[in-house]
Structures are given as C-alpha cells and as structure tokens.
C-alpha cells in the first residue's frame, strides 16, 4: 500500500514538473510578437512582406488590368459576363470578381504592414548591430513610398478613402473618409522625401546605399525595389492625376535626365514584345514593377495580363477572357511603319506575333505580353511570369510630353513624343526593321499634339493597366466629351465601395454615383 502511494506520488510529481513546459509551445507555423522585430532577417522579412502585399493587391483577381485596361477600354470579352459588366461600367453587377474588386481591404493590408514596419523597425535597430543606419534609412524610405503608393492607387480607384497612418494594433477603430486631395498631398510629400533617401540602384555602390543590400548583389534587386527614379516616376503620375503639370515636368525630368545613371534605356519594340524581353524576370528598365520571378518559383496561373488575354494559338485555351476586336485594332493602329502592329492594304499582317496573333481569327489574341513559363513560346502550360510593370521610361517620357503640351511648350512635347516614335515606327511594309523610315510628328498627319500623345499612349501601354487613367486625364484636358465629363464630375469614374466594407464600417457612405 505504501509502495503504491509512493509510486503514484513520484509519477505525479514527474508529470506535474513537465506540465508548465508542456503548455508552452512555440508554433512553427507562425512567429509570435515576442519573437519578432529582433534581427536583420526580421527587417528583411518585414519589408519584403510590404512589397509582397503590394504585388498581391495589384494582382488579386487581375485587378490591375481590370481596373486599368478592361473598364470602358479597348477590350471586349467573349464569354465572361463579369468582365462584360466592367467593360460597360456596370460595377454594381453581382459577380464575385466585381464585388472583390470593389473591396479595398488588400490595399489597406499594405498600409497596415507599412505602418507596423515603421513603428517597429527601431527595435531591430536596437537589437541587431548588423542592421545599419543606412539600411534603416533606405528601408524606411521604401516602406513610406509603398504606403504612399497604396494610397495613390486607392484614390484613383475610389476617390475619397479612409486615411490611416498608424497600425492601431488591437483596436481597429472605424475611420471615415478623407478627401482625396488631402491624401494626394500626403502622398506627394512622402514620395518626395523617399526619393531623396533612395539610391539609384541597390547593391551598386551608390553613395546612398553603400554595400550589398541585405547581403545580396545588385542582380538580385534589379527592377524589384523602389529606387530614386521609381519614386520620381510615380510622383510624375501623382502630379498628373492632380493636374499639376508643372510638377509633372519637374519629376519626369528627374527621371529622363538621370535614367542612364540608373542603368536604364529606351526599349525596342522587339524587346517589349519578346517572351523573354522587357516583361520577363526583373531588370532595371522596369522602372517601378513587381516581378513574378520565374527563377524564384513566383510564376503564377493568375494575377497577370496573360491569363486574361492569351488564347490559342499562343496558349492552349480556346477563347480569351478579353480581346481587342478587329475594327478597334484597325482604328487604333492606323499609322504605317508601326512595328507593334502592321497590316497592309490586302489585310495581311506583318507584325509577327508582337501585339496581336491570329488577327484573322474570330478573336485576335492580344499577345504583346506573353511571358510563358521562363519566357518561352511553349503553348501547353499556362503559367506566366511577366512582371507587373507600373511605369517605365517610355511612360514617363510621354507623360512629360503631355505636361509640356498642357503648359504650351509644344516643341519640347514633340521632341519627347518623337523619342518614342523613333523607336516604334521603324519597320517597312513587310514589317522588317528599317530605322530610317520613321517620321516625326506633324499635326496634319497625326492630328493635334495632345491627341497624338494620348493615341501613342493607347498603343504603347495597351495591356499595362494605364488606359482608364489616361482616358480620364485626356478628357479633363480636352473638356469636349460631355458624357465622360459628367462621369468625372459626378464620381462615376470611381468604383463603388464593396457592400462588405460598407457593412463593416458605419462611418462610410457609398460613393455618390453608385448610391
């Protein structure tokens, strides 16, 4: 009897001792607050998280292109009812994709992650000596820039949105809308400050970012991070959206004057449309872009323009989700010698598969961007790795041309426009390169300057999520299209706020046009 008591005593004590320990488990599936913001690696995971969330926000449901290209744009959809609704600006239609795209949550994820990063990064600085002052300065500049970028993107989509610049962890108070103009002022000042702190390139011996950034060489960071010129390029867009064309000239000139310092160049039409060209992988010419890097296994079945536009014969899918109808193509690409799309009087195309493939079929396939797998022409597997490019040098050049035109400096504008023309209208009737054939802009041939610039933009950036915003700027400048101006004035250019979001936050009201 005694023995038993003793035995059970011992047994119980043994297990009881392990009891506290047994109840403390550090999960392997997540990192808890107490184990984070300690080391250089934590800082890296944090900043890459902000980038990753930005990429996801833009790629979600192919939003970047549905917002920018599909909405009242050049594309039509053969079978997707939801995209047809977007094309018609019928944004309250009850389709999951339309509903999802009217939800801004994913942009606020960027903002929240950025806010947390900015609040907590000093802890890393205090804990880990490897995390240098400079590392922190460029990190903060990038994160602030990305936060401002998220606001800029949201303001373009929804107009007035809630404005939050702290994480408010644990108490997620509802916040009402702040006027878009105030937010854009904030965006501009944040981006300007970031531009000052950022280097031209990372891990490239720049005085503003000496040494290897997070121990990785320059190749790793090409095109993937925000650099000084990225900041100025986006600033030019911010200023153009606000109609501050003098600022546009300033910011875009920063880019155009210094692009060689950042290892960039104007790209050729072939480079633009090659599967392994400009959109493939990551490179410095992607002025502000988010890569789906094939080598890092980031290729994706969705979240890219290809999954919307490509179809047979480029990939093995019968019907594209969206396509540019034949008569639209013919009315847009009217000029001869255009390498992007070239058709002769007999109706034969000579532009190979650059902008359009299967032109004679029922649905011409928009094949400008076609980074299949690792930049191949293999039609069998629809995994794409094209980078999501927000802006590039050609964009900034045409933006400056636009600004000069608005400011009345037409000759400078024409110079900028011709930079692009020189690189695009350089093939002969058979589509073969002939650099001498290009002709400068002239009003009798190409219409009014502002129209010519926007037509050029329409061609050059087709499928890059720009058309919708270009159109708004154009109509604002032109002031002739009454229905569209009314759309601008009564808020019809914005998206409705998702019902889900409205249900959560009583301080919000539906955007007036969509009430």
């Amino acid at each position: 009897m005694k023995k038993i008591v003793l035995l059970s005593l011992i047994a119980c004590v043994l297990v009881a001792g392990g009891c506290k320990k047994a109840l403390d488990i550090n999960p392997t599936r997540l990192v808890s607050e107490k184990n984070y913001w300690k080391t250089l690696e934590d800082a890296r995971a944090g900043i890459m998280g902000v980038y990753g969330l930005t990429r996801s926000a833009l790629a979600d449901n192919n939003g970047h292109w549905i917002y920018g290209d599909v909405r009242m744009g050049n594309f039509d959809s053969p079978i997707r009812m939801d995209l047809k609704a977007v094309i018609k600006n019928d944004l309250k239609a009850s389709y999951p994709v339309v509903e999802a795209l009217s939800n801004w949550r994913r942009f606020y994820a960027i903002i929240n992650a950025a806010n947390i990063f900015l609040e907590r990064i000093p802890e890393v600085k205090a804990n880990d000596a490897r995390y240098t002052d400079n590392n922190m300065v460029v990190d903060i500049a990038q994160v602030k820039f990305l936060r401002a970028f998220a606001y800029f993107y949201m303001v373009r989509i929804w107009g007035d949105v809630p404005f939050i610049t702290s994480s408010r962890d644990g108490s997620f108070d509802n916040v009402g809308k702040t006027s878009k103009d105030a937010i854009l002022e904030f965006v501009q000042s944040e981006m300007l400050a970031a531009a000052v702190d950022l280097p031209y390139n990372f891990s490239s011996g720049d005085i503003q970012q000496p040494g290897n950034y997070y121990g990785e060489s320059s190749g790793r960071w090409q095109g993937n991070l925000v650099r000084k010129l990225s900041a100025y390029a986006v600033l030019a867009h911010v200023a153009a959206w606000q109609g501050k064309y003098a600022d546009v000239v300033t910011y875009s000139s920063n880019v155009i004057n210094d692009y060689t310092r950042a290892g960039m160049s104007y790209i050729s039409t072939d480079n633009l449309t090659n599967p392994n060209g400009f959109f493939y992988d990551k490179n410095n010419n992607q002025l502000f872009a988010f890569g789906f890097v094939w080598g890092h296994q980031e290729g994706s079945f969705t979240g890219n323009i290809e999954s919307l536009t490509l179809a047979a014969p480029v990939v093995n899918k019968n019907t594209p989700d969206i396509f540019v109808p034949k008569d639209s193509i013919l009315s847009i690409f009217k000029e001869t010698n255009d390498a992007r799309f070239n058709i002769d009087t007999t109706g034969t195309t000579h532009s190979f598969d650059r902008y359009f493939t299967n032109f004679l079929g029922k649905y011409p396939v928009f094949s400008k961007i076609k980074v299949i797998l690792g930049g191949e022409r293999d039609p069998t597997f629809r995994l794409f790795s094209s980078a999501l490019v927000f802006t590039r040098l050609e964009d900034i050049t045409l933006l400056r041309a636009e600004a000069y035109t608005v400011l009345g400096e037409n000759s400078r504008a024409i110079d900028d426009l011709n930079i692009i023309r020189q690189r695009r209208y350089n093939v002969d009737q058979m589509g073969l390169p002939n650099p001498d054939l290009w002709i400068r802009y002239s009003e009798p041939l190409h219409g009014s300057l502002i129209e010519a610039i926007f037509k050029e933009r329409q061609k050059e950036f087709m499928g890059e999520g720009m058309r919708w915003y270009d159109r708004i700027r154009y109509e604002k400048i032109k002031q002739t299209n009454a229905p569209f101006l009314q759309l601008i004035n009564n808020g019809g250019i914005y998206w409705p706020i998702s019902r889900e979001v409205l249900a959560q936050n009583p301080l919000l009201t539906q955007n007036s046009y969509w009430k």
Binding site: C19, G49, R220, K317
Partner: protein, 996 residues
C-alpha cells in the same frame, strides 16, 4: 480518505493556485467497468436471455455513474456488424437518438461527419466541422482526427490533400463489445474539453480465459440505381429555349460564343447515344472476413484478431480495402495488479473517384474547360484509359494501442494508461500528359496525426454504512497532439515513363538534390506541422443513498498550449443527480420494472485545435491572392506579415466552453417488455471564437473574437418494445429512436446582433444552419411589369430590373432588392432524425428491418442552379465550370423553374433563392436482413460450437423523399447539393458468423 487527500495534493502541485477541486478528476473507464454484452435473441436463442432483445439497451447495474445516464446511449455492436459498412459513421447512422451522421458520398472510405445533439457552431468550413466532431474513445484511447490545417495551402478545398480517408474507417465492428454514445455532460465531462461535442465510447472484446475462436465472413454485391442519361441534343434544346426567348439574333452579344460541342449536331460523340453509364456505374463485389482467437489462463490471457474487408462503390470503380489486426493481452502478476496492453494496426487503401473537379483541385491547374467529357461510351472509355498510364495510390495506416497498469485493492483502485493513436496517410499520384493538355503531374504526400495520452486515475470506494455509499476519484490527463505533413508536386515531367520526381543524387554535381525529371521551377514543396498539448486534473465524488438517490460532482481544471498564457486554465464543475422512483414509490408494483429520473448540469471547456489563437498578435508568411494561395515570398525572399487573410488575433482570447443541462427519464414496464428513455437537453456552447468581418481599413478580412454562443435544445427519445416475446412461434421487437433538435444563435462577439459571412447570415435568435435566401415569386414577363415607385424602377443591388428577371419579393418595401430582402429559411441539419428498427423471429429464423429518417431538413439544389446558370459557368474557365461525366445524367425537374434571361447581370439563377430550396426529408429502408441460426444443429454434432448464424441482407433498399435531385443524403455539411455525391450503394450480402 487520507490517500485521496494526498493524491489531490499531488495533483495540486502542478499549479500554484490552491483553489479546491480543479485538482481532482475521474476515470475514463469507471463508467463501463461492469459491462455485459448482449445480443438480439435470434442469434442467441440457446440462451433465453432475459434482456429486452431490442437494440442493445444495456442498463449496467451497480455503478452509481450508470444510474445517471440515459438508457438510450448503448448500441449493440453485434447487430451493427451485420451492416457491410467500412466506417464507424456508417455503422452508427440512425442507431442512436441524438447522433446525426452525414454521408455526403457513397464513395467508400471518404470522410463523413457526425454531430451529437446538433452543431455547436455555424459550419462555415472544414475547420468548424473538425471542431464539432465528437471524441471517439476506443478502450480508453482517445482517437485523433485528421487536422484541417493542411487546407491552408489549398487553392480548392473540396478534399484535404493526402489520402483524405475517413480516419474512423479503422474500427472493426467484429471486435467490439459495446458502443456507447455519450451525450450529456454527466457522462462526457470526464473526457475533458475534447469531448465537449459528445463522446462515442467503444469497448473491444476482452480476452477470455477459455479458448474461443470466432469467425465471420460476408460477401456481397453493390448495385447502382438506374439513371436517365441525356446527350448534347437534350442540352442544346434546353439552352435554345433561352436564346429563342431572349435573343433575337441567337446570341447575347456580337462577341458571344455558343459552345462548339452543342452547336455541331453532326458530332456523334455529343449528339449520339449517351451510354457513358456503362463505363461509369458498375456492379462490384465486396466482402469481409474476420477471425479471432482468445485464450490463456486466469492470470494471463490474450485475444488476437485479424480482419479484412473490401468495400465497393457503385461508380467510377471506387473501393476501399482494409486489413486490420489487433492483439490484446492481460496479465495479472499479482492478485492486486493488472497489466494489459493492446495494439491495433490497420491499413486502408482506397481507389478514389476520377472526378474532373477533384483531379483539377489536386493538380491546382485549370486547363481549357470549354469542351466537357462526351457522353459517349467509347469516348469516355478512352478518357478513363488515360488513368492507366499513371497511378493514384492512397494508403492510410493506423496504429493505436495502450499499456495499462491497474492496481486493485478492493476499495482503492488506481489505473494508469499510456495510450497512443497514430494515423499516417500517403498519396502518390502520377497523371499522364494526356489528362492535362500534354502536361503530366506527379505528387507525393505523407502526413500523420498523432495523439499520446497519459491518463492516471485513482478511485476509492467508501461505504459509510449500508445506506450511504461514496465513490471518490481523482485523475490527471496529459495529452500531446502532433500533426505534420510533407507534400510536393510537380508539373511537366520529361515524359510519361518516369513517374517520380527524381532528384540529383550525385553529391559532387552542382545540381545536387535538385529535380532532374521535372523542372526545378515547377516543383512545389510544402512542409507543415502543428502541435498542442493539454493538461487536465479532475476530482469526482459519487454518492448514493439507499440506492435511491444518487449524486455526483465533478470538478476539473484544463489547460491547453493553444490558449493564451494568461488564460490558460479553465475550471469547471458538473453536478449530476439521480432518483430511483421505482425503489421510492413502486417497489412492489410489478408492472413497472424500472423507473429512474436523472439530471445533470454543468460547464466544460471546449478544446481549440489551432495553435495560432494562443499566440496573440503574430506574423505569418501568407501573402497569396485570389487564385494563388501559395505565393512563396517576394523576390525569392521569405516574408512575414500579419495574417491579413486569416484574420487578426489579439491578446485576451479565452477558452470557449459549453454549458449543458440534461433531464432524463428511464422507464420500463412489464418486465422490461416496454422501455422508454427520454432526455430533454439544453446545451449552450459559449464564448466561441468567430472571425468578425471587420478591420478592412487595417487590411484584415476579419478579426477573431470570443463571444459567439449557440444553443441547442431538444429531446432524445428511445422507445423499445417486445410486441411479441421470444419463445412463442413468432417474436417481434420494435424500437424507435428519435432526436428533435433546434439550434439558435444566442450571441455574437461584441454584442453584434447579426453578421454576414460570405453568403451566410448569422443572426442572433435564428438558427445557424439556415440559408439566407431571396424569395422568388416568378418572373417579370415584360419591362412594364417591373414595379415603379416614384418614377424609379425596381432594382437589384442598384441594377435596374428588366423583363426576364426574377420577381423577387421586396421584403422591406423599398423598391430595391438587396441583402435586406433575404430571409433565413430552412435548415441544413434535420430537426428530427432517427431510426426505426424491427426484429422478427420465427423459430430459427430472424428478420430485421431498419429504417432511417430525417425530417425538417432542407437543401439547396445547386446542381440545378448550375445547369440553368450555364452562361456564367460556361464563361468562367475556373473550377466551378467543370462539368463531370454526370453532367449527362438527368437529375432534377426542369419544368419547376421559370425561364429567366440567363445573361442578365442580376444573377437570375443564383442559388441563394428559395427557388432552389427543397424539402430534403426522407425515410430510408436501410437494412432488410434475414438470418437463420444453425447453432443447435451444429452443437449436436460438435459441442464446440457456440454459434453458427447465417444471414442474407439487403441494404439501402429504397428512399422515400420529395426531393427532386439525387438522394437527399448526398449533400455536404453546407447543405448545397452540388451533385458530387456518389450514390450510396444498394448492397446484397450473404454472411456467416461462427463461434467455437
């Protein structure tokens, strides 16, 4: 008494608080110490048992605990074993009042769900289903289920990655002595927080000192029900109606496409005979055999059993095979010491269905879906042949066992158990190029679920005098759960001959450990693990006065590593009372043989299985987006962000718990010829976690908060009667069990009174399993019929309604149809369910008829909604636009539905409207079996025979229902019938059971 005090004290060492009671706790086996198998009389006629003979109601006399429980809890495993089932759920369906079993597919070995006394939460995903399952305890080994954490990496969550085999397909009914369904808190509390949803207690047959050999076997066939097939012409005619009505030009827009497979009427594959059923449905054999031997002496004995079964489905050549073996040994080295050990090992392998959807969900790649499988037999056969170029191997191994040490000093007993349950699954796949637009696919999965338990219990019986008896127990439980998987898949291998993802094995090669057959960039690898531990202490005192009044008080303390450190312990009491009215008032009344009243009230913690809530604010690597859940990082660098998609987790999350009260009555008359148990219950699960959609401006989809309460109230009733007693020429026993259950949401976190989650509405005061639907009142035939109020035409979500749109009821009268006009309707779980069993005996013959029924249950016929919504589904090339071969089966009633304009953007055929809500009540004849007992015949020839019983049975004979789709049972927990349920087979079985 002193001893108890010491042990209590020792238990108290673990935590510093000295609060009373939470240190004590009781035995998992005390409640079934004395248990006696009984069997329906027709197979045991030799032994004229005094039992009722009805469905195994086994009142265990003597134990105080037993008096506090309903008689309706116990089932007769011998009778259950007649059913040619493979999973525990199939065995138990319709057999116990209050236990509801879902069998969403007749595919053998697939996952099925059980709910005891309703669901404690809205069933939003696999996570909630996992959290509402009862705990299964086999001989004191708490079984571990398949943890749903693997769903996190899945784009399409139809089945969990891996073999997705029902982990309860490992219970061989031939080895089982008793099955008890413990429902009320007086019985379940002892099993702790994991038993909060009820406990199913399974006890296996113990070794006998006398040598005994048993053998049973059956062989049967499964047979499909006949179906009506359709072909491309039928579908084309169906669609043409819409085009004729709504489009002058024959299409809905200049850039529309009409599907080629329907427009080409000369295409024999689609327009020819629709005879695919020859290749899809088939009659298959199934069989089972079990044998056991037991023997030894009084001091040491053993039982060894083996079994094998093949369970077959009626479609797609599906089947599940199980081999099991079990060894149990008891030793009594000293009079007061018993050591026993058990090992049970199972292997289940499964031939799975070849559904396109399930394959694509696994492959995670959607090829062009514009042309579905053709209804032509040869074409379908060619498709099936492609599977022969690859493989899809699904294997699950289960091992569980225990070592028990028992000390019995008459009044004092001590049992220490080390129990282990482990199940592992592998799935190896290779799909040839021909199945996926010239891309082949290989995948390997290995995962396990493991639970180790150390359970110590000490009991002390203390009889103050003849009238006052006590029984004290204290106990502790330490439980360690560990779940893990590793998973990889790859696309586009070099060819169809190398079916494995080979790695470079040469250490000196720069490509070392990189894939050689598949491209490195197209090989995806996953590794995940989650662990959690539970520590519990309890104390329990049972008291009985003159055997008339019984009382039992349990106090327990539970802690889990999945709870936040500041709120780790949860203390709770349970009080049970019993009153023997027979002894009190009717001791001399011979017409009443038994009359007990019992009740319990108490509180118990609910276990949380996910490890993220215990950590408070946290960071994860999830930065995926719609359609790409597994984004590996940014620029090849791992990321950590807040769990924006999964929801914000703050500090201060607490245990959820359940408050339960039960009042029951056992009464039997006329020497137990008529017996009834009735239990009224109240069960409110409280303070449960729920993701509240909020914090969108902080990036979150939802914020996880405590505070959801769901109440289930209902009645369990079991009535059994011997209408004609055995012994005469004809005997007839009849028994009815039913459960009436209603659930109600009583609180939402933060005092909210309603909440929309996806297309569900959770509203305080309404039930959690209702659908949120628009009310459909026909169609607007012309634009003029659309109501106009103050010059404003009626809208649907701000879209103007037009001719051809549904006439939805404007509930709030604001002349616009939106979510405010949806109402909660119907129930996905039945209000009333149960079984009705009849056993007839005539001489050596026995006949039994088992019915299973559900009433007050509705479902949404999504399959029909999909068929009518063809325009949208044809347009999207996504997983929802997959059409299976069963697309060519005519199900449902087409004429029921108005012809709306399918191209309208108001979503005229959206499933969430009462147009698609149907009554899913049914009555099924589940079993007819006819047996003949040869025992006497053989006994005359050899005295060794104890039993020789031969039977034939037919299962799933017919279903009576008003539902117009397939079998109304074939629906997942959501209540949406998507048509994926495979017929539950009708089986014909011939079997024999021998004991000697």
């Amino acid at each position: 008494m002193r001893l108890i005090a010491i042990i209590t004290f020792v238990g108290g060492l673990c935590f510093t608080t000295t609060s009373f009671g939470n240190t004590a706790r009781s035995v998992c086996m005390s409640s079934h110490f004395s248990f006696r198998g009984n069997f329906q009389q027709q197979t045991d006629t030799s032994k004229k048992v005094a039992d009722t003979g009805a469905v195994g109601i086994v009142p265990a006399e003597g134990s105080i605990q037993k008096k506090l429980q309903s008689n309706g809890n116990s089932l007769d495993p011998k009778k259950l074993s007649i059913f040619p089932a493979i999973s525990l759920q199939q065995y138990l369906k319709g057999e116990a009042a209050g236990l509801y079993v879902q069998e969403p597919s007749g595919e053998p070995g697939t996952v099925q769900n059980m709910f005891i006394r309703g669901t404690s939460q809205p069933l939003l995903s696999a996570r909630e289903v996992f959290a509402t399952q009862p705990l299964i305890v086999v001989d004191g080994v708490p079984l571990v289920g398949e943890h749903p954490f693997a769903y996190d990496i899945q784009q399409y969550k139809f089945d969990r990655i891996g073999p997705a085999t029902n982990t309860l397909a490992n219970i061989n009914m031939a080895n089982i002595k008793s099955v008890e369904v413990l429902k009320d808190i007086s019985a379940t509390a002892i099993y702790g927080p994991k038993g909060a949803n009820g406990v199913i207690l399974i006890t296996t047959i113990e070794p006998t000192a006398k040598r005994r050999i048993t053998f049973d076997s059956y062989v049967g066939v499964v047979q499909p029900n006949s179906v009506v097939t359709i072909n491309g012409k039928f579908e084309n005619d169906f669609r043409r109606q819409f085009y004729d009505k709504y489009s002058g030009t024959g299409n809905f827009g200049s850039n529309d496409v009409y599907p080629l497979y329907l427009s080409d009427s000369l295409n024999n594959a689609f327009y020819g005979p629709s005879n695919w059923t020859d290749k899809y449905y088939n009659t298959q054999m199934q069989y089972g055999a079990n044998a056991s031997i037991s023997g030894g002496g009084a001091r040491a004995n053993f039982r060894f059993s083996v079994g094998g079964i093949k369970s077959a489905g009626v479609a797609d050549n599906t089947s599940a095979d199980r081999y099991d073996t079990r060894f149990i040994i008891n030793m009594k080295p000293m009079e007061w010491l018993t050591v026993s050990a058990m090992v049970n090992a199972n292997r289940i392998s499964r031939d799975r269905n070849k559904n396109v959807r399930d394959r694509l969900a696994q492959v995670n790649y959607i090829p062009d879906l514009s042309t579905p499988l053709a209804p032509n037999k040869d074409r379908y056969g060619q498709y099936l042949d492609q599977f022969n170029k690859g493989f899809d191997d699904n294997k699950t191994n289960t091992v569980n066992g225990y070592v028990k040490l028992g000390i019995d000093l008459q009044k004092f007993k001590f049992v220490s158990t080390l129990a282990l349950d482990y199940n592992e699954g592998t799935r190896d796949i290779f799909y040839a190029r021909t199945l996926l637009q010239t891309n082949n696919y290989a995948s390997n999965y290995f995962g396990y679920n493991q639970r180790a338990t150390i359970d110590n219990v000490a009991t002390y019986e203390y009889d103050l005098n003849e009238d006052n008896k006590f029984n004290f127990s204290v106990g502790s439980i330490f439980q360690f759960d560990n779940y893990r998987y590793s998973y990889a898949y790859a696309y586009k291998g070099a060819n169809d001959f190398i079916k494995l993802n080979l790695l470079e094995s040469d250490k000196n090669n720069s490509n070392y450990l990189n894939p050689t057959v598949f491209r490195r960039e197209l090989v995806y690898k996953f590794l995940d693990r989650t662990r959690n531990n539970q520590v519990s202490f309890y104390g329990k005192a049972d008291y009985s006065y003159k055997d008339k009044y019984t009382a039992s008080l349990l106090l327990r303390g539970d802690a889990s590593s999945n709870q936040q450190p500041t709120k780790r312990w949860f203390y709770s009491p349970v009080l049970s009372l019993g009153w023997d009215l027979k002894k009190e008032f009717l001791a001399d009344d011979r017409s009443v043989s038994n009359f007990n009243l019992f009740g319990s009230i108490g509180r118990m913690a609910r276990y949380e299985h996910f490890d993220n809530y215990g950590q408070g604010p946290q960071y994860t690597a999830a930065i995926g987006f719609t359609g790409n859940a597994i984004v590996p990082g940014y620029n090849g660098i791992a990321v950590l962000t807040r769990p924006y998609m999964a929801g914000s987790i703050g500090y201060g999350l607490e245990w959820a718990y359940t408050d339960q009260a039960n009042l029951g009555l056992n009464i039997s008359f006329l020497n137990n010829r008529l017996s009834t148990s009735i239990d009224g219950y109240f069960r409110e699960d409280k303070n449960m976690l729920l993701g509240i959609p909020s914090g969108a401006e902080y990036g979150y989809t939802q914020v996880i908060k405590n505070g959801m309460n769901v109440r289930n109230t209902g009645v369990d009733l079991t009535v059994s009667g011997i209408i004609l007693p055995a012994g005469k020429s004809l005997s007839w026993n009849s028994s009815l069990n039913l459960n009436y259950n209603k659930n109600k949401l009583t609180a939402l976190p933060g005092g909210l009174d309603k909440l929309v989650i996806g297309d569900r509405l959770l509203k305080v005061g309404s039930s959690v399993d209702s659908y949120w639907l628009l009310e459909n009142n026909g169609i607007y035939n012309t634009d003029a019929e659309v109501p106009v109020v103050n010059g404003k035409t009626m809208t649907y979500n701000s879209i103007q309604m037009k001719a051809g749109d549904p006439r939805w009821k404007d509930i709030n009268g604001d002349n616009s149809i939106d979510d405010a006009d949806r109402t909660l309707q119907g129930h996905a779980l039945p209000l009333l369910s149960g079984g009705f069993n009849n056993d007839f005996g005539y001489k050596k013959w026995s006949l039994s008829l088992n019915f299973y029924y559900n009433f007050g249950r509705q479902l949404l016929n999504q399959e029909m909604a999909n068929r009518f919504d063809f325009i949208n589904r044809e347009g999207q090339n996504d997983i929802n636009s997959v059409r299976e071969i069963t697309f060519w089966e005519k199900r449902g009633e087409y004429s029921k539905y108005p012809l709306y304009n399918p191209a309208s953007s108001v979503g005229p055929y959206q499933v969430n409207q009462d147009l698609f809500l149907e009554n899913a009540s049914f009555v099924k004849l589940r079993t007819v079996s006819l047996g003949y007992d040869f025992t006497d015949y053989f006994k005359k020839r050899s005295s060794n025979f104890n039993k020789f019983y031969v039977y034939v049975s037919a299962n799933n004979v017919f279903t009576l229902t008003k539902y117009t789709g397939q079998d109304p049972e074939l629906v997942s927990y959501t209540g949406y019938d998507n048509g994926y349920g495979m017929q539950i087979p009708r089986t014909y079985t011939l079997g024999v059971k021998v004991d000697f």
